[in-house]
Subunit: 343 residues, 2 copies
């Protein structure tokens, strides 16, 4: 067990960092410091439970992420999971296994990142632990959320002849990562990516408001967050729901900055958009008759919304309709992206 | 991301392992396989949230634990945290970061251990993830629980002139660990420990029934589980509640097997009992007027209950009253045990 001094140091990173109001708003009766946290569940709501782990060199490289970014992103990835069920994030538990070579300053930065994200999304941090690891940082985060009873949106509710949408641009995180990776053997060094791509990789912005609207109004028939890439998430919906998804290349939201950066790197941005992952926008389906209402509401709220395709009956699969009207649709592979090798 | 084959392998360890009844009893609407689990909170109950991490070589050694034991114990440690609040364990999320050298058989055994413990305590496993680590196994477990609203028992409720109790013997796990450690440099090899000590180390039995009775009846004024050792947990109650705890050496529950084994090893069993830890029994306080009712009820339920001391007013501290009536009480150090060095 840690020494009394180590306990005091750990407490300085983790305890007393959130206001009584923040904790009360999240229904916290007992927070950090006892065997378990005690919280009051919200009346008329279901409880959501998500857990995501980030391992150094597997999920992130120190070369592309500041310590504070690692904390921020580990929590944000869980926020995105709650958003993908249509929920409001509430309580976080944070487990950090840290190499003994890390000094207190690095730990403080890591926890600053957790708390910055927690404050951003109104999350109460109520528990977890800090342990030593032999070599690599491992961060596991559990996040609870609430959704009105029976309104949680799974992956399996899509039907044929619905629209397929995303709640923001894709591929930015992969483009940013590409440009920040250390050069491989004999590799070219690409130009440093524009700030927007760097931020997309380091500090993703989960679609919490979009998810809550889609669930509360009963508009989304299926919903996934784009963590493993648009292709992979589309496949999950296709397989869980038993439908075919057809995406249209010319409707995929390609940001101008991504297009310009890909061109400077002589890369195809479509690869990043389909297989890049870590975009943390939402991919979902909705009935056609609700498309206009959704678009009107999202516009009023200032939230992006892109219809990128439609569902069809047939065996589970995902296809891309080319911009060229003469070409046939082509199947999209069920794969993610090898994050840490340059193409 | 894992390949489709790897996904299928992971699912074989984690999915479809619990009956629909088990999941329904725990209020699970959506379990493993979506972005987050969906569960219905229990009416009239507060929600408990605990998270504990076990790191290879820091919290356990492969020499003393089978793979299935690691899974069992990682979940049991969390069950004990829920018990220490007076709660009923409900939903587990399990994060495993596993060295790539582990084959599928070892992973299957690890998950067998998780599910054996889950089934033992009626817990629904609803999420988590499986990732690769570079060298060491890291297991992080989150467990939810339910306790009747307002009945959760913290560490801070003890007052002067109350009884101090434990819900089972202490020191067995430390004795078992001692006997299974690989010999140090030039070290003696102790006799292999008796089966009961080995089991106490590998498959601890958290005091869930005891905790629920103590909370439901409002009997416990404070409660901790003995994870870091009796001394350390007593200190936590003393400091959180602002009282002095006096333990009586002759009332500490010393099992005959532990006494005999300590004698064979020429060790002092008191060291294991006070500083050993990982006993996962409960240490708590209660008003004197309830002592008889508690003892009668525990006897009727077949549950152990030992009054080991009392609280006094005064600055926070923990003392041991010796068996020898002529000797003064001596202060108990606020420390745990260095698990992996032989004394």
């Amino acid at each position: 067990m840690p020494s009394p001094d180590e306990f005091a140091l750990i407490r300085s990173w983790t305890a007393g960092r959130q206001s009584a109001e923040r904790l009360a708003l999240a229904g916290v009766k007992t927070g950090i410091g006892d065997d378990a946290a005690v919280v009051s569940p919200e009346q008329g709501h279901d409880l959501l439970l998500a857990m995501d782990t980030m391992v150094e060199e597997i999920h992130f490289l120190p070369e592309t992420m500041e310590d504070a970014d690692i904390g921020y992103k580990a929590l944000a990835a869980n926020v995105s999971d709650i958003a993908a069920m249509g929920g409001k994030p509430l309580h976080a538990l944070i487990s950090v296994s840290v190499p003994s070579a890390w000094g207190p300053e690095r730990m403080a930065s890591l926890y600053d990142g957790f708390y910055e994200c927690a404050d951003q999304y109104g999350i109460a941090v109520v528990g977890g632990d800090t342990t030593v690891s032999r070599r690599h940082l491992v961060v596991a985060v559990t996040l609870t959320g609430a959704v009105p009873s029976g309104r949680a949106v799974t992956r399996s509710g899509a039907s044929p002849d619905e629209i397929v949408f995303v709640t923001g641009p894709v591929g930015l995180s992969a483009g940013g990562l590409y440009g920040m990776l250390p050069p491989g053997e004999g590799g070219r060094v690409p130009p440093f990516p524009p700030e927007r791509l760097v931020r997309a990789h380091r500090k993703p912005v989960p679609s919490v408001s979009a998810g809550r609207i889609l669930a509360d109004e009963g508009w989304a028939t299926s919903l996934n967050d784009v963590s493993d890439g648009l292709a992979s998430e589309a496949w999950e919906i296709a397989e869980s729901s038993g439908v075919t998804l057809v995406l249209h290349e010319n409707r995929l939201p390609l940001s101008g900055e991504l297009a310009a950066y890909a061109s400077a790197c002589r890369m195809d941005p479509l690869e990043w958009m389909l297989y890049g992952g870590e975009d943390y926008v939402l991919l979902g389906t909705a009935e056609r008759r609700n498309a206009e209402a959704i678009q009107t509401r999202f516009r009023a709220e200032g939230l992006p919304f892109f219809v990128i395709g439609e569902t069809e009956s047939g065996s589970p699969g995902v296809y891309l309709d080319s911009q060229d009207p003469g070409r046939a649709r082509k199947p999209i592979a069920k794969r993610g992206y090898n994050h840490f090798t340059k193409g």
